[in-house]
Structures are given as C-alpha cells and as structure tokens.
Symmetry: C2
Subunit: 173 residues, 2 copies
C-alpha cells in the first residue's frame, strides 16, 4: 500500500486521544507494571512517544527536506527513563498530545508532494531511506505502541483470567 | 492482580470509543485487508466484539448468577462472517457501542460482591470457571482485540516503511 499523506495524518492526529483513553484514570498497578525483566511499562511507552515527537519524526523530515547534512542523528530508545522522571502520567499524556498537535501542523504545512516524499537521507543503521518511508514508519510506530500498551495492560490480569489464559494469545507472547 | 469490578468497568466502558477512534473514517484498504490466509480484518474483529456482547460475557454472567443450569453454551468464533454481512463499518461501531453501554449498565446493576464474584459455572472446554475469571477475561479480550486491530492496520504498511521493517516487531509477528 502506498503512503498517502492524508491517511497518515488522520491516523497520527488520533493517537494521543486513543492512548489517553486506554490509560487515563486507572490505578497505578495498570501503569507502572511491565511485562517482566527489562520490558517497558505504560508510563515508559508514553515517554518514548514524547521523545519521538521531539527528536525523531519531524526533525528527520526537516533533515530530509533541508539543505544541510543529510544524516540522521541516532534515536535514543532509552531517553524516557531520564526525561519522564518526576512527571505524572497525566503530564506525559498532555505533553504528548501538545507535541503531536504541533507536529501534525508542521506536517500539514509542509504540503508534501510526490517529489518531496521521494527525497532521501541516511539513517545511521538502515542506510538510505525516503521521506515516505519515514512517515509510514511514524504511523506504524504509533500502532505498534498502541498494541504494546494493550498487551502490557492485558498481562496484569494473566493470573486473574484463570483457565481462559489458554485462549488469550496476547498473554502467551 | 485481583479482579476489581470498578477497574474492570472503567476499561470495558471505554473500548467502543477507543476502537472507533482507531478505525473510523479511514479508507477501505485499512478496514478490509487482513494479515493473510484465514486471519481477520478490522471489520471482522468489530463483528466479533458484537457477537461477544450478545452471547458471551453478560449472558454467561447471568448463567453463573442464575438458578438454572450452570453450563455455558459454546461461543461461536465465526458468527460475525454471517451477522456482519451487508452492514457498514459505521453500523457495526454503533451497534457495538450501544450493546456495550447496555451491558455495562447490567454489570453495574448486578452490584457484585466477593461472594457473587466467586460463584462458578462450567465452560464447555475449560471446565469450572468463576465469575471474576469471566469478567477479567472480558477485559483482557477487549485489550487483545485492540492490539490485533492496531497490528492488522500496521501490516498494511509493511512494504511502505521500507528498511524500517527491521525495527518494527509488530510487522514480524
């Protein structure tokens, strides 16, 4: 399926609301427990979304469309552990919603045509990538972490569902 | 984690809105393509939620709490292929929201205490199950299919993300 800017926008602009509906006003046990080991809890995932808004998607679009050096700065997958410290979940949700709103406006204002979408830059590990691949990845990244949040939450009831665990694929991943 | 009725209710009552935000007003390509083979598309999943509202969760709660035979009727995992025929996605989303609202009211009105939550009935395959296990499974089932919808949608961009596919766990499941 081709990347279409209007489709991408209509998914990207809904994500903060979807995430907020999933996690807001729930007891801490749903938010601060992870899937075990080094996995992330819901709070970590929201912080990761925020770091993406600040350093990944739109800044990389600007590198691709700009006149300067066409190399991306590596993305820090662990920035949220420092950046989210001392903040509440509601503060993170508000920050994510605000940054996403600003970034969707920047994306809309860029008025990307086919020529712009096919422009390229160099990813530190993946090599040459195009703007349409970057923006499609932004959409998929949103969906990935919605799925992750639902899974992390579901796992809190792993024992609570009793014998139904056998039917719940999400609990066995 | 223990099943707490107020937590369960607060998740169950949000699901139709979350699902609607995820899938409403998108082009058909996002809604009617599956993950390949016999897998379900987004439209199928919404129909499956509806069939659960009609025949699974609250009807089974009523069997557990009732005075009659304590055996569940088997759940039809494929009913939506017949029942959703000829309907639009918006019709399914409205039907799901309406049925869920009614069922949340029934759950609230049941005023379940610990004694009620520990009552049991017999599942056709899983054997003896309690009301708290049934209700926790309802919550996990909601989350499972939110994750599935996000994954099915993400996979539509599998080729579109280019080399980023390597980073997207959701595309490699």
């Amino acid at each position: 399926m081709k990347f279409l800017i209007m489709e991408g926008l209509s998914i990207l602009e809904r994500t903060p609301m979807i995430v907020s509906l999933l996690v807001k006003n729930l007891p801490d046990s749903w938010i601060f427990q992870n899937e075990g080991g080094e996995t992330w809890n819901v709070f970590d995932v929201i912080g990761h979304y925020i770091h993406g808004e600040k350093t990944d998607w739109i800044p990389r679009m600007q590198i691709i469309l700009g006149e300067g050096d066409k190399h991306f700065v590596p993305f820090d997958r662990f920035a949220q552990f420092k950046d989210s410290k001392g903040k509440t979940l509601d503060e993170l949700l508000e920050e994510f919603a605000r940054l996403r709103k600003e970034n969707v406006i920047k994306l809309r204002n860029a008025q990307l045509d086919e020529a712009a979408l096919s422009k390229k830059a160099t990813h530190p590990e993946l090599g040459e990538v195009s703007l349409s691949e970057l923006l499609a990845s932004w959409v998929v990244h949103d969906l990935t972490h919605i799925c992750q949040i639902a899974r992390v939450m579901a796992k809190q009831y792993e024992a609570t569902v009793g014998p139904w665990k056998a039917y719940m694929g999400i609990l066995n991943r």
